[in-house]
Symmetry: C2
Subunit: 219 residues, 2 copies
């Protein structure tokens, strides 16, 4: 008789669940810069005491997503145009490098998966999904590099700027242009051309940065 065993002791802790939910809410724009995170309110929402909420907030602060001040609580971290610009440059440097390392190791399964994410991104009507779908497209390609530390750092950088991605894609023609650029990046990967994939990725990121900064300066 064959019994499938499952590890029943590793359900997520309350703090982890709350941290993930808050992180998602911040990234997807449901919580905005400067919004206060009230410990008692969040505890009520999750049916728990404040202790795991505090632990979740401590985690989020380490991720740069919230800022706490002693005795005054936590607020969602803002991001200045200068910081956003720097993070975009950072991403161009790092993601360009990672995709170059990844291309020689990509398989047909990589391409198929990336194609699915690209298509989903292109056809979604819900702005809230753009960040996640964009991320899935890119990180599927990068994952072939096997550079897990790099990927973790990229994920963290994306967490910080995803809310701005929505603003940038909302620009006239933003979505169509991003989709074209994704197509070109995927084509370079499929052609086995690391230099071109890297170059296109850097242009893609820096182009998005330029658009967004232009919008901020116009506002």
């Amino acid at each position: 008789m064959q019994i499938d065993s499952v590890n029943i002791s590793q359900g997520a802790s309350a703090a982890t669940i709350i941290c993930d939910a808050l992180r998602r809410a911040i990234i997807e724009g449901r919580l905005n810069d400067g919004d206060a995170l009230r410990q008692d309110e969040i505890a009520r929402m999750f049916g728990t005491s404040r202790i795991p909420v505090r632990e979740a907030i401590a985690m989020l602060e380490q991720q740069g997503l919230v800022v706490t001040q002693r005795y005054k609580g936590a607020v969602v971290a803002g991001i200045s145009p200068q910081e956003a610009a720097e993070i975009w440059d950072f991403r161009a440097l790092l993601e360009g490098h990672v995709i170059e390392a990844a291309v020689p190791r990509m398989t047909a399964a990589t391409f198929a998966r990336a194609r699915r994410h690209l298509d989903a991104f292109a056809k979604t009507a819900n702005p809230r999904d753009w960040g996640e779908l964009n991320r899935q497209f890119h990180t599927t390609l990068y994952a072939a590099s096997d550079l897990s530390y790099h990927l973790t750092v990229i994920d963290k950088a994306l967490d910080r700027v995803d809310r701005l991605l929505r603003a940038q894609l909302s620009l006239s023609n933003g979505l169509a242009r991003a989709t074209e650029e994704h197509e070109a990046i995927l084509a370079a990967c499929e052609a086995g051309n690391p230099e071109q994939a890297g170059q296109l990725t850097r242009q893609h990121i820096l182009g998005a940065k330029a658009n967004l900064l232009a919008q901020i300066n116009r506002d």
Copy 2:
């Protein structure tokens, strides 16, 4: 009458104090890979309850310095040779870039400060100080770049590998060689040569990586 006001409300929380102390202990090698972090013991040492200790541990986990398992507590994170190698490559990429951006913005005060850190590094006899002094030398140079996000990410990477730095510097001639390389980097900065500073920084980091990996493979 002139009164100097001070902000008296911003002492660090217990969790922050504990987190910083544990982080330092890990980085400096006083806590080793796999060491358990016992909540009750740490709470006693700091004269507090376990709650701030739990918060501190949650923070450290986000920093990649400890690994927790539900109901089993936290242990100091290990680092495999592969992960160490990747982080060194990561540092070469990032720090090379940052110092190139920094060179054109460096001042005489930068050089004087870096010189002091270089000298302190060269003459210390205490291996426990190598990581911090090495870090101060490099980050003094990088700070002129004004790339604060990059610097934060570099600091985090250094936190992960500083304990290995000690091993690498303990190698025959490791300290003398690192000092020579620091001298060359500083000279390139003083000469206002970003490309050379970047190149020497990358070589410095990748050379340290190669030495360490050779030692690991010998063991």
